[in-house]
Amino acid sequence: MTQRAGQPAEQGPAVDVTGGGPLCHSPRVALRPIDPLALRIDQVGPTLLGGWSATSGLRHFPPSPVCPFTGADDVQPIDLEREGTVWLHTAVNVAPPGYAGRVPYGFGIVELDGTPLLRIVTRLDGEGLAPGVRVHLEGEEVPGPDGEPVVTWVFRT
């Protein structure tokens, strides 16, 4: 239970967060998060937005009006940890319907740092993906639902 609860970070100006990788815009262009309720983009980089209920003691993602696990209604917004550990992973070789980003791509479940356990569905990238490997959050540009570029998240080794 580190810095997360009750820390709705101030909204900063949108900046490039793609880490200067091949998908980063040059010159830098402000990009929208793929879903503003799930992801924030600011100077710190991408942040997954979550909820936390004191009653249930559980984090969740993305924020829900009530704790999705217990129904408790004392949910407060939190910033989720940016680091975690791969639990399960596989590879997607064919773009699923509605997705226009790169393929193949890694896909799996990450257990975020902190307690109690919180597992997140995520794309994965990097060398040496395997259960138990440490990963960190990064942003990645993909075409959004309307075809315009947006930033989504990926956990990378």
């Binding site: 559980l58 997705y99 896909f107 993909v142």
Partner: protein, 377 residues
Amino acid sequence: MTDVRITGVGLHPFGRFEGSTGTDMGVVAVRSALAEAGIGARDVQAAFCGTAYGGIAAGHRVLGALAGTGIPIYDVEAGCASGGAALQLAAASIAAGQHRRVLVFGVEKMPKGIIRSSFFAPWQEAAGLTPAPAYFALRAQRLLVEAGLTVDHLAQVVVKNRRHGVDNPDAMFRKAVTADEVLAARMICPPLTLFMLCSPNEGGAAVVLESGEAGRGGVRVAGISLRSHLPGNVLGEDSPLCGIDDAAITPPTTLAADDAYAQAGLGPDDIDVVECQDTDAARELLAWAELGLCAPGGQAKILADGDALIGGALPVNPSGGLLSKGEPLGASALGQVVEIVRQLRGTAGARQVDGARVGLAHVIGRGANACVTVLTQ
């Protein structure tokens, strides 16, 4: 409770049928079921149609092609369990004394390729978070670790079901495969190869249900339950974006199975033949444990002993399963019921499970929706 009996079953084969609409396939299945029951379309008091992609009033289109009767027609969508949900509602309407004879059918004509689902928000699709086979693969990865299984066990499930499917004239794939062929097939999402995944396709299935007084013999619906999920499992069919420690969370299949067993006054040990959801090879192995047919981790021994083969101690998917038949969502659950009815009647031909007296049909899919039906002679 009033006895609910199945007095007629019918199928349109599962596969790909250029030029046939879902309505056409539904009509074939319904006509066949009505003929078996010795009645006409005007002799039922209500109809229940399961479909996921059939569009508005799919059931009305099928019945409208046979007879405009003014009866209530319920179109039911519950993902992979759509036909099971229709059957559950239909059985309840008879058990409640509302109707004495009803028609239940399922129709589907699925788009090709990975199934697009309106279940997800557009941003989740654009983020690459909705690849159905990848979810199946993650579930398989977890099962392999937790049940002490290997990809060879996954291949053995495919070999079993495809062997069974050879003798099913209504199946899409009727060629046996070897474990080597399964493992060498195109990798879709590790550890699942193409042959380990069922094909979305097309087809129809129908049953006539009657109250005990009206039913002349027939197979008895001893228990049927539709259940959704409890939250927490990140790999659950409710497809959440997050989950917690789920060790103590009962999966929807178990919720439905426990309910159906209780209604029937029977348990897993009483089951002689099973049709279960094999969307992918791992899903079948998971179902064995969730249905109480084996202890968690007991799958390897069952496979080694050949128990799940026709001729084994508890044959599973004698129809060839979805891995042989393909999965037309609205029709697949009723297709399983049709197979169990034929097994209990002793009319399953080369696929017959000797001495089958109690059968179980199981579907699980997005929602989550799980349906378990226990049928007895």
